[in-house]
Structure formats: structure tokens, C-alpha cells
Symmetry: C2
Subunit: 496 residues, 2 copies
């Protein structure tokens, strides 16, 4: 936001912030209700403001239309009521495409129409590790292929995650207890800075609002506490264009093991976000159980068909099922946790890079998206999946290679096609087919290309990251010679 | 069978054969009903004889008790009726342990109690390839680790299987048609010789009685034809101690695609075998569909709980489910087809040796058994899975290594235990645990060993075929350092 000719300017999908001074007494987090109505011609949008401590109040807003916007505050305290003003929304900077939305049922695009292909990673509590490591994480991300990161508001208590975090979202301490009715504005200011820094790197923050890995009581704030927390987070962060709301990491562990939440709570949380977030950021919820691993008798997935779920955020070890999930939910599918490259003791964290890359190709070719994670043992216990730091694995450069293939040429809107149960394949109309053979290693394949059209075929060695055009053109039932080694894909493009 | 002091001698679980001369006119296959009753003290067992062409009739019998056996024939033709005789059943030769039975609910043993661990292979129509190639197959088997082979009575029509077989089980030809009421004794004599040669090599013949890959009409003999064929096969082969009855390869393809069989037919076939086979050889039926591959909406497995099924013969790409199948059927589990080592175009036939070996270890550690197959492209189209010939892959020597581990020490009767969803593990009481980590590569594991006992631990590199004893002994919750590479197992044995 800049001032120009006396009128404040805010870029489209940028952030307007109104700073106000108000009462300090009592608990303003609880007692002061501040809102503002932003209007553009006949349209008006109401957003919540929030108390930022030390008598400071803020109202933030992300405008989506160029031109003049006016606002008026509404508050139950006179000093903050009926404050008015205006600003001009100007064209966005080049790298600002707006927030990401679901698009074409199964895919994503930025608000300006630019396709977005999520190539996410996971560093659950990188933001709780103190300045030095956080710097390193951002430096790593700058050179990594990831455009989305899963990260938690709350600190994490779990294997390899036993040290105390740098700061807490609530006033108080582990020893003396926390006051869940008083937020810690410094904590949130730092989180906001981190999310802005991710935004500068072109990375969406898939912000996890609740999770079960807790020793501080944050998984059990009580109904009032949960709702107050959610409203506060939305008031502070809703205007950040790179925010995605991930209601939980492994929500079902909180329902079934911790018993701190019920299914109805998650419905209510989604509803609060729907009500409070005028930008309708992407919203999802991530499971622990999956029916295949747990002998098919234990399917407790959240119903991603509910209208407030923008996309299915799945934990599953096999992207074979992406087409089934697409059919079931008719929404974009992201397998946000499908095991991590690494060598720790846990099964979810000790796959080879080859397998991680395979999971990406299988998910993407079947018309879904996949999230990375890395869990290599480290002398100082700094593991990317949780702490951030540095990447040590061999999958990221191969994920970058796949991302380049997706971003090359026209927008990719892959729909799965059946080329045999052992092949992951997707197409766009009759113009483009991506088929991947995983760790199978056929020496040829007979592929049923659409009739009466001609195609050029490129052989992709997804591990060696090479693209080799095949001689000639292909049509109808085509026998395509393959090198008989694993991790091969074909890119098939319509030609004259 | 040998003559000694005037009395015929037959080793226990050997084969007694009575040869008779009788009528040639008409169709003796249809018109002559020959049986014999074999008696031992007060016990009597009735078996069917069969017409062997050229006026020759035979009755075969496998005695299971040492001592004197008497017999009398029963026939609807006078010349073959009331023929009487006797023989002495003597102790078996050293390598004759009798037929294999289900044992300890989930496992197998020979009739003399020696444990049998099926390490099968698949060469569907090796027996239809002519003398030279058949010799080569037997030579290969002599040096291979396999003690069971899946093979078909009928020839096979399918990709890579388009040449005409050496001979047919029925009188006639493809051009002029077959007479399903007249068998070709030469064909069966040759099949019998092959099964005996397998027996000499210690190999069980898992004989597939029906299959869908047909261009000669053998998948559609009609009800009368099917039943006559089954009875004839049982009369000829029931007395072979290494026979297993596999009612079908991929029976559901015949029900659903060819529409030549119905579920009730399979029930009847099992019943005929139960009724006609006094030895109650192992009997199973093998599926095509599997619920995981076919998006879980298409489970058409035969109900292996039916009393005539001795063990579940499964086709499935993932041995993760062995414990579930064990619970469901309470019978031994053999995954008889879980993809083959090779490089052909089909998904079921192009996995790497690493994966084939992994499937074996996962199945065995989870308390089941697994069958091998090999499908490498070959300049003359000789592919082990179907034609036999030579083995070219890298899995057989690793399968041999696993077989040696199973055969080493006390009888292995593994029951699956849960060491995490990513680990395949089985135990015998509290004395012995085999745990396998597959293509995961943890750098350590914390294993809950039974309390208050001490164990020695050996690290097994299943690919390099090395067994490395770990220093010291382990008890209770034990942290075990691992090399952080794939295909590692642990053998954990109780010690002082």
C-alpha cells in the first residue's frame, strides 16, 4: 500500500491495512468487536478486524477489483467505531496472480486465470525453529521446486520434535499454563512475516490450523477457545493471498485417539471459516487413517463432498486411487502425504527418492497432485519434514523436472485415462497424453491413440531427467518401443 | 511296484496299477464303467479305473498304509468284473514323504509330517511344447528353487502363445473338430510321464484343469463333457502323489467374459473331485479380478471358505493383504500370481527381480506363500511363464535363499504380527520372528520383542543374500541399527 496524490494505493490482491488505536483495559481479544465494511460501487464486503496488543487494532482487506474502495468500521467501542476512509486498487505487480482457486473441477488456477499446479512440500513447524534455521529454510525454498508448503500454526510434539518452540500463539508458558483467551501478537506478526516471505518466493502457505501432536494443550482449547482462535487467525491472515486453510493434519487422530474433537466440530470450523473469510481461500482437511492400509475396515475420511471443502487433501500411500477419488469428490485431489523420502524408523518416512518421484508422476498423470516430504536422519536432528533447513534428497530435482513438463505449453488439465492398471495416464482432450510406467519396465507398449489423428511421441526418462523424441509420428493402435527400464514416461502430443 | 516272493510290492504313497484287457467296440470311454475297491483290514476305498485305448483298461491306486492290500474290480462288462488281487505296501523310499496336505490351518506338510513350504513357479503349458523344450524345462527345474509348478492340461491361446500344441487331450483336430467324448490316451500318458518326472525332482504339479485362453473349444465342453473330463483326469492322475487340483486359472474370466461357466459349475467340479479322489489332494481355484486393482467395486473371488477348497489360490499384486486373507479363509494362502519378473508389455509381466523377490518375502513373512513367474522377451518367443525353457531372471537364486532360510531349523509355521504397516513380519510362538522391510530403508527400528526373553538377531540382506549376525542379545523394546538400504530383513531367534 502506497500513498499517491493523497489517495492510498493497494495493488489488486495486495493487502490494505487500517491501523487504529483503542482501549487496552480488560481483555480486548474478548471484549472488543471490530469489523469493517469495504465497498466497491454497490458491492460491500464485511471483514473482522483484530486486536494486535498494546492498544493497537488492525483491519486488513484484500481488494479484488481495480478502482476506488471505501470503508467504514463497526465497533462496540466508540473510539473504533465509524472510522472511514478509502483507497485505490491498482494493477497487480507482475508476479501477483491473486489467490489460488479450484478450477475445471479437478485443477487449480490463480484468480487471474494462470494455471497453478501444486508441487508442495511439508515442513510442519519450520516457522517455530528460530531465526537462523528459518532463514536457511527460506533460502532452500528459493532454489527448490515447491510452490506450496504445509506448515502448522501450533508447535509440534512428536518423535524428533521434542525441543520447546521459539514462541507460542497464546499468552503464557508450558510451566505456568496458557491463557487461550489472550493471543500473543508477536507470535502472529512473525508468522505473518513468514507467510509474506513465502509469498515473495511464489509459495502458497497451506496453513494447518489444528493437529494432534501436542503437549501444550493446543489440541484441546475447548469449543469457545477453538472458535475464538479460528476467527482470530482468519481476521489476521484472510487478506494474505497465498493462504490456504488446512483445518487439520490428521484430524481423525484428534477424534479417535485424543478425543478432543468430534466430527461436528470440524463441520463448525469449516462453517466459521466460510463465514469469516470473504475471499473463500482454499479449505481442506487431512486424514490419518486410510482404508487400504487399515485393512479396509476403517474408513473415517472426512466427507470431502461437503460444500465448504475446496479440494481433497489426502494422506495415502498409493496414488493408484486418484481417479476413484476424483470421481467420488468431483474436486481437485492433492495427496498431501504419501510417504517421505528418507531413512527414519517410521514407515511413512523411509522411502527411496525413486519411490517419491514415482508417487509424483503417478499422481499427476492420473489427474491429481502430490506433496513432497523428506525425513533423513540428521546429526543435529534437523529434518526437513518438520524443521525445514536443507534438502538432502534426490527427489526434488526430479520433481522440478516434472513441474517444468507440466508448465511447458498450454495449461495442463489432465483427466485420467485407462492404459492398463499398471500405467498412470492422463489426457487433455485428444491433444495431449502423459503416460507413466512407474517401476514396471515393459520393452514395448501398444497404446490406443485416438483414431484418425497423428501424434509425436517423446520418451521421458523421469529419473535421468531426459526427454528423447521418437522418430516419426504415431496414430491409432501404436506399438511404441520402450527401453525396458523403470521410471519411463511418454509425452504424446497431437501433430499435423 | 515290484514283485517279491510272489507278492507285488508298492511303496507307501507309491502307485499300484492294475492293467486289464477288455472290449474295444463302441466308445469305451462312455460305455464301460470300471471301478475297484481296495481294502486294508476293515477299511475299503473305491477308485475309478479308466480306458486307456486299444482295449487296455487300468486301475490305479496310491496306498497310504504299510501291509497287505486286496482289491476287487466292479464293472458293467463281464470281462473286467470281479478281478481280484493283492499287493504289499512297503516303506517309502527316502525322498517320498507322501502327498502334501494343509497343516496347522495356514501351512502345508507332507503326509509323513515333513513341513512343505510351497515355492512355486508358473509354466502354464511347458508340457505342450514338444520333447526338446520339455527336456530343457525339466533340466532347468532340476537346478531351480521351485517345488511346485502351475501347469495346464489344456493348451493355451493368448499373446505369445499362438502356435499349435504338440498334441490334444481329445480325439480330433482343430480343423476337423474334437470329439469330447473320446480322450487321447497318448496325450495323457505323456502328461503322466511329465508329472512323474516332476515328482522325481521333488516338484508338486499344481494342475490347472480349466482356463479361459482357448481357441479349440476346451473352455466349453458342455456340462456332460466337463464332468466326464474331470472324472477321467481324476481316475488317471489321482494316484499321483504330487498332484494338486487347480480347478482353474482365472475362473472368473470364464464366468464373466466367455460365459462358458457359472458359479454353480465350479461348485459341482469341486464336488466331483471330492467324490472321485479318495486321497483328497489339495484343491483350489484361482481368480482374475481383484478388488484393489478394480477399484474395489468388483470383488468376484470364489468363496474359499467352501469346505472343498483346501487353500486359497490367489491372484493379487500385493501381499500386504495376506493376514486379512488368512483371517477370512482360515486356510493356507498361496498368492499364485502376483506379477512376474520380466519385460513384456503387460503390467503383470514386467516387474524387476527386486520386486519379485520382495513379493516373496512379504508373502512368506506374513504367513502365506508366493508363486514365481518369468516373462522376459525372447528371440524365439520362449517365455518361461508359459513355455518353460530356461530361466533368465535374477529372482530365482534369491527365492532359493529364502527357501533355505525357511527350511533351516525347526518347522516354520509363521503367524503374522504387526510391526507397523510398512513391515512384513511373522512369528512362531515367542521363539522365532522374521521381519522384512521391503523397499523401505529405515536406518533403525525399535521392535517390541516379547518381554523377559533374550534374542539373537541376524540382519539379512535379501538381495545380496547375506546373513550378518548382530553383536549381543536383545530383549523387550529393542532399538536395532539397520543399514538404511532396501530389501533388508531380520531373523530374530530366542536364545539363552
Amino acid at each position: 500500500m502506497t500513498a499517491n496524490h493523497g489517495m492510498m494505493e493497494v495493488e489488486r490482491w495486495g493487502r490494505f491495512e487500517l491501523d487504529l488505536e483503542g482501549p487496552k483495559e480488560g481483555n480486548p481479544f474478548n471484549n472488543i468487536e471490530l469489523k469493517a465494511v469495504f465497498s466497491y460501487e454497490n458491492r460491500s464486503i464485511q471483514v473482522d478486524g483484530f486486536y494486535d496488543g498494546e492498544g493497537q487494532y488492525k483491519v486488513r482487506f484484500m481488494p479484488d477489483k481495480l478502482g476506488e474502495w471505501n470503508f467504514t468500521t463497526i465497533c462496540n467501542h466508540d473510539t473504533l467505531n465509524k472510522k472511514q476512509g478509502s483507497f485505490t486498487c491498482i494493477a497487480p505487480r507482475e508476479n501477483n496472480h491473486g489467490p489460488v482457486r479450484a478450477d475445471s473441477q479437478a485443477h487449480f488456477a490463480y484468480a487471474d486465470g494462470t494455471p497453478f499446479y501444486p508441487f508442495g512440500t511439508t515442513a510442519y513447524v519450520w516457522n517455530h525453529q528460530g531465526e537462523e534455521l528459518e532463514r536457511k529454510t527460506l533460502e532452500t525454498l528459493k532454489n527448490a521446486p515447491f510452490n506450496k508448503i504445509r506448515m502448522c500454526v501450533f508447535p509440534k510434539h512428536y518423535d524428533y520434535n521434542l525441543h520447546e518452540p521459539a514462541d507460542f500463539p497464546f499468552v503464557g508458558s508450558k510451566a505456568e499454563g496458557f491463557d487461550f483467551s489472550q493471543f500473543n501478537p508477536n507470535f502472529f506478526a512473525k508468522l505473518e512475516k513468514q507467510i509474506d516471505e513465502l509469498n515473495e518466493l511464489g509459495i502458497e502457505a497451506d496453513l494447518i490450523l489444528f493437529h494432534p501432536y501436542d503437549r501444550w494443550g493446543f489440541s484441546d482449547l475447548g469449543t469457545e477457545g477453538d472458535d475464538r482462535y479460528l476467527k482470530y487467525v482468519v481476521a489476521r491472515l484472510g487478506s494474505f493471498r497465498n493462504i490456504w486453510w488446512s483445518l487439520a493434519n490428521e484430524y481423525d487422530l484428534m477424534n479417535e485417539y485424543l478425543k478432543t474433537k468430534k466430527m461436528a466440530d470440524w463441520d463448525r470450523f469449516f462453517q466459521i471459516i466460510q463465514e469469516k473469510d470473504p475471499y473463500q481461500h482454499l479449505s481442506s482437511i487431512h486424514n490419518w487413517h486410510n482404508p487400504e492400509i487399515h485393512y479396509r475396515n476403517n474408513n473415517h475420511w472426512y466427507d470431502h463432498n461437503k460444500p465448504w471443502v475446496s479440494h481433497a487433501s489426502i494422506q495415502h500411500h498409493d496414488n493408484y486411487f486418484v481417479p476413484e477419488w476424483r470421481e467420488t469428490y468431483r474436486k481437485p485431489i492433492i495427496n498431501d502425504e504419501c510417504r517421505y523420502e528418507g531413512n527414519i524408523n517410521h514407515g511413512w518416512g523411509n522411502i527411496m527418492a525413486q519411490k517419491m518421484v514415482q508417487l509424483f508422476w503417478e499422481g499427476v498423470c492420473r489427474g491429481g497432485y502430490v506433496t513432497h516430504g523428506e525425513t533423513y536422519m540428521h546429526p543435529e536432528g534437523i529434518i526437513w519434514w518438520s524443521h525445514g533447513g536443507e534438502l538432502h534428497g534426490d527427489s526434488p530435482e526430479r520433481i522440478a523436472f516434472l513441474r517444468r513438463i507440466m508448465e511447458d505449453g498450454p495449461a495442463k488439465r489432465l483427466t485420467p485415462i485407462y492404459y492398463g492398471w499398471d500405467v498412470a495416464a492422463g489426457k487433455m482432450g485428444e491433444e495431449y497424453i502423459l503416460a507413466y510406467f512407474g517401476d514396471s519396465r515393459p520393452s514395448f507398449k501398444i497404446l490406443p491413440l485416438p483414431e484418425g489423428k497423428r501424434y509425436k511421441v517423446e520418451l521421458i526418462d523421469t529419473w535421468e531427467m531426459k526427454i528423447i523424441p521418437l522418430e516419426g509420428t504415431y496414430t491409432n493402435e501404436s506399438k511404441i518401443k520402450l527401453p525396458g527400464k523403470p521410471y519411463i514416461a511418454l509425452r504424446i502430443t497431437e501433430t499435423e
